[in-house]
């Protein structure tokens, strides 16, 4: 009987605590905007497998890597004049006009004369009802690529952030607790890693090893986990270490490990979670930069999409082929920013000094 009351109360109190923290988070507008962005991309990431499984999307057409569909179009073959302006064209830019094709581009198709109609495939094709964000230069669906890219971003970001924060929390607590040489070693190590420029380091790593999503997550996680966050976590652990409840556990005879893991770690955890959310941002950004530079062995990601549009020569063509660059670039910016904003919102919850009364 008593036990039931206790459990009921426990449930009720837990619900209350969650509601209280949620209300605190909700008050932060930035945090809510971030949360909506993250939920949106999470929805995209989960939508793609759903569409494939239910058969709404055909894998042959919509697969982000090997799918193919070309839009057929019939064009009038014209010959562009050598001097401008002419009656039809004001400058070189206007030839060929819409629905026209320069005959010079048809040297591989002999027998086609000026004035004929020529059937061709449009690649990259602009957005249409079949392909919401058009297709890329290989005829693959851009929207599907964006979805695939958000899966990669979530896996990479969360994995590397969890790994990194796990490492830095444990090392920071150990540094605070053992002090002396252990502390000095760990602090110098994180100074060193803070000092290393991380992108050039990643170039070197990618030169020696094949970087897939998992590898990159581990590398980014370890680099982040050994870097500056150890110092911050250590300072927090030092603050907790001198609290009377730690003394109280020491008097009772609690071992060092017990105090570290059951007293100090839970009190450092909120800060660590905050770090985790912020470091997702860094991981997503690093991935796009590395992919853009062609240093990763990943089938598809937002960085790869920008990389492909650059190597195919579309990145400098203004906004004519906007669906090749803008969606991927915006996705990177939005999701990285979204995680950052969520972190800002969580900051209000975890950091009582920032709370508005």
């Amino acid at each position: 009987m008593n036990e039931n009351i206790e459990q009921d109360l426990q449930k009720q109190l837990r619900k209350e605590a969650i509601r209280r923290n949620w209300n605190l988070f909700r008050q932060s507008k930035l945090g809510m905007i971030g949360l909506y962005i993250v939920i949106f991309f999470l929805f995209l990431a989960l939508l793609q497998p759903f569409l494939f499984i239910t058969g709404i999307w055909n894998k042959g057409v919509y697969d982000p890597v090997v799918g193919y569909e070309a839009i057929k179009d019939t064009l009038l073959v014209v010959e562009c004049p050598k001097e401008y302006p002419t009656e039809k064209y004001e400058s070189m830019k206007d030839c060929p006009g819409p629905g026209e094709l320069n005959v010079k581009r048809l040297y591989l198709a002999p027998g086609v004369e000026v004035g004929d109609y020529y059937e061709t495939f449009i690649q990259p094709a602009p957005p249409s009802s079949r392909h919401l964000l058009g297709t890329d230069s290989l005829g693959r669906d851009v929207f599907s690529q964006i979805m695939e890219g958000s899966q990669v971003a979530f896996v990479l970001g969360l994995l590397s952030a969890t790994l990194g924060v796990g490492i830095s929390t444990i090392l920071g607590t150990i540094a605070a607790f053992f002090g002396g040489r252990v502390d000095a070693y760990l602090m110098r190590q994180s100074d060193l890693i803070l000092m290393l420029p991380s992108l050039p380091l990643l170039f070197i790593i990618s030169a020696f090893a094949e970087l897939k999503v998992w590898h990159l997550a581990i590398v980014l996680g370890v680099l982040g986990g050994l870097g500056g966050s150890v110092i911050t976590i250590k300072s927090q652990a030092l603050q907790v270490k001198v609290k009377p409840f730690v003394d109280s556990a020491r008097i009772t005879g609690g071992s060092r490990w017990r105090i570290m893991f059951s007293h100090v770690l839970p009190n450092v955890a909120p800060l660590a979670l905050l770090f985790m959310v912020f470091s997702v941002t860094g991981a997503i950004a690093s991935e796009s930069v590395l992919s853009f530079l062609g240093l990763l062995n990943i089938d598809m990601s937002w960085g790869i999409m920008i990389y492909l549009s650059q190597t195919d020569g579309f990145i400098f063509s203004g906004l004519e082929f906007w669906w090749l660059i803008l969606p991927a670039g915006l996705a990177v910016t939005l999701l990285a920013g979204g995680f950052y904003l969520v972190g800002r919102g969580l900051d209000d919850v975890f950091n009582p000094r920032l709370r508005k009364r």
């Binding site: 206790e6 426990q10 109190l13 009772t252």
Partner: protein, 317 residues
């Protein structure tokens, strides 16, 4: 002959303060300097003095929180029924010592882990010492919560410290302290952070528990009125030394040392018409005692188990 639960002899805690990285000068701060006292079973000693006089440092050294730099602390050993030095205790013996000594802290807001439930907080000592099975432990927790007046226990067990008031938290600290049935509890100003209205109920609770469980207290406070309420004997501390130690009433009615006199004079009396004795700082009496007994002994007995320090305090008070 009374049995002592703890005997402290010539306890010292010095800190080295260096003048900076490039400086060779090293000052020594004598936070606790050559103090001795003993506490018999079931009695409590008040340690009174101004801020920074070394009260808390003494407490932390007794609880082995900070290493002392000199002197002996002997603790009663249940099995051998002898006093045992607490230096260099082996693992098993250290565990036994830990069972018998506990500390209640000043700030009830900081002395309970904010991420643990009340149940976990009170269970911790039993878990560390592996006493009884799970059911025994839970029963013990419910029992001790009843003892400290937090009923019904099921209402408090799943709560977190921040959901309780200051007085309730201090009751939880006391419950946690007493669940191991220690022989000796160091109380570091346990009521100074509480409202005056809560204070007396906490002090009564501690006195009742002391009677029921035969606990001895070392009660640290800067408030002589609290010390008078709680303690059988009072030691007055000044500048790291005990300057006067006597039975509570003897000390308050017949203070000898100029510092004790100052301290007693400074107690506010809530009755404006009451004409209380105001002591001047006067070294003559102290000088006379020092002259009579000589300065060889750090503490001299002037009868009635009333001890005075012969240490020169001129110009310090």
């Amino acid at each position: 002959m009374k049995k002592n639960v703890i005997e402290v002899k010539n306890l010292e805690k010095y800190y080295e303060v260096s003048g900076g990285f490039f400086s060779r000068n090293k000052d020594i701060v004598k936070a606790v300097d050559d103090i001795s006292f003993e506490i018999p079973f079931g009695e409590s000693l008040g340690l009174v003095g101004q801020s920074g006089c070394g009260k808390t440092t003494t407490a932390r050294a007794l609880c082995l929180l900070d290493p002392k730099t000199g002197g002996d602390v002997k603790f009663y050993n249940n099995e051998t029924e002898n006093m045992q030095n607490i230096d260099n205790l082996e693992d098993e013996e250290l565990k036994k010592f830990r069972r018998n000594i506990q500390m209640i802290f000043q700030d009830p807001y900081e002395s309970l882990n904010p991420r643990w439930t009340i149940k976990d907080i009170i269970l911790e000592p039993l878990n560390i010492h592996n006493i009884g099975d799970l059911q025994d432990r839970e029963e013990a927790v419910v029992e001790i919560l009843k003892t400290v007046g937090l009923t019904p226990a099921s209402n408090y067990l799943p709560r977190y410290p921040h959901e309780l008031s200051g007085g309730q938290r201090q009751r939880v600290s006391i419950a946690r302290t007493l669940i191991m049935k220690p022989k000796f509890v160091v109380c570091d100003e346990p009521t100074s952070m509480l409202d005056v209205s809560i204070r007396i109920s906490i002090m009564d609770l501690m006195l009742n528990l002391a009677k029921d469980l035969e606990v001895s207290y070392l009660y640290i406070t800067h408030d002589l009125a609290v010390a008078r309420y709680m303690c059988n004997r009072i030691a007055v501390m000044f500048n790291g030394k005990i300057v006067e130690i006597a039975e509570t009433e003897e000390l308050l009615n017949n203070p000898i040392h100029p510092y004790t006199k100052r301290l007693i004079s400074s107690i506010p009396v809530p009755d404006p018409s009451y004409d209380r004795k105001v002591y001047d700082v006067n070294y003559d009496e102290l000088d006379a005692i020092i002259a009579k007994h000589g300065t060889d002994n750090p503490m001299v007995d002037i009868g009635n188990e009333h001890y005075i320090s012969t240490h020169d305090v001129k110009g310090l008070i």
